[in-house]
C-alpha cells in the first residue's frame, strides 16, 4: 500500500516568510510524528499527534512553529517568520498506535534564504 507522503519535496523561501509543510500518513494510522533533521545530524522529535490532538509538542523549538491535524489524518506543520536556522529536512512518520513501528516519509527539504 501507499506509504507516508510529504509535500512539497523541496521548499525555498525567504527569511521572514510563512511556510506550510504537509504530511499524508498511511491510511488508518492514528499516530503521527514530525521530526526535523539538520545537516549532518540525526532527526530530532518535534511533535506527536494521537488522532486530532497534539499529545506531546515538547520538541517544537519556539512559538513560530505550529502543527495541526484537524481530521485525524493529514497534518500540516506551519512555520511563521522563517529564519535561516529553520533550514532542514522536515520528516513525518506515522504508526498504527503510539507504541508501534514508525514509518517515515521522504521528507520536505526547507531552505530559508
Amino acid at each position: 500500500g501507499a506509504g507516508v507522503s510529504q509535500t512539497p519535496s523541496n521548499k525555498v523561501t525567504e527569511k521572514g516568510k510563512y511556510v506550510e509543510l504537509r504530511c499524508d500518513p498511511i491510511s488508518g494510522h492514528t499516530a503521527l510524528y514530525w521530526y526535523r533533521q539538520s545537516l549532518g545530524q540525526g532527526p530530532e522529535f518535534l511533535i506527536y499527534f494521537q488522532g486530532t490532538g497534539a499529545a506531546d509538542d515538547s520538541g517544537l523549538p519556539n512559538d513560530r512553529f505550529f502543527a495541526v491535524r484537524p481530521e485525524g489524518s493529514v497534518s500540516t506543520l506551519k512555520i511563521q517568520r522563517t529564519e535561516r536556522g529553520d533550514s532542514a529536512v522536515y520528516l513525518c512518520a506515522s504508526s498504527s498506535g503510539g507504541l508501534e513501528t514508525q514509518y517515515f516519509g521522504p521528507g520536505t527539504r526547507l531552505l530559508v534564504l
Binding site: P43, Y48, L91, F104, P106
Partner: protein, 116 residues
C-alpha cells in the same frame, strides 16, 4: 533522558566483507532500541528493533544487532556487505514509552561506504 552515541561517523568496507556499525546507549531503564537506514532521497526505513525479548535481533537485508546490557551497546553487523548497503545508518532509542508513545531519539548517524 535516553540517548545513543554512534562511535563512527563514516565506515568504509569492501563488497563481500563484514560490516560493523557501533552504537552505545544511555538509558535509566530497559530501553527499546532500533536501527534505521536512510538511502539518499528516500525515507528512513526500519532495519530491526530490540524490545527486551531476544538479545540477538535479526533484521531485514541480512543485518542483525546484539543487545549487550553489560556494555550498554547495540552494534549492527552484517556478514557480507553489498553495494546496495551504502547509506546512512541511525541507532535510535525510544524515550517516553511510559507515556504511551515512542519519542525516538536518534544518534548522529554513520555513513557506510561500500567499495567494489
Amino acid at each position: 533522558a535516553q540517548s545513543v552515541t554512534q562511535l563512527d561517523s563514516h565506515v568504509s568496507v569492501s563488497e563481500g566483507t563484514p560490516v560493523l556499525l557501533r552504537c552505545n546507549y544511555s538509558s535509566s531503564y530497559s530501553p527499546s532500541l532500533f536501527w534505521y537506514v536512510q538511502h539518499p532521497n528516500k525515507g528512513l526505513q526500519l532495519l530491526l528493533k530490540y524490545t527486551s525479548a531476544a538479545t540477538l535481533v535479526k533484521g531485514i537485508n541480512g543485518f542483525e544487532a546484539e543487545f549487550k546490557k553489560s556494555e550498554t551497546s547495540f552494534h549492527l553487523t552484517k556478514p557480507s556487505a553489498h553495494m546496495s548497503d551504502a547509506a546512512e545508518y541511525f541507532c535510535v532509542v525510544s524515550d517516553t514509552v511510559s507515556a504511551g508513545f515512542q519519542k525516538l531519539v536518534f544518534g548522529t548517524g554513520t555513513r557506510l561506504l561500500v567499495s567494489p
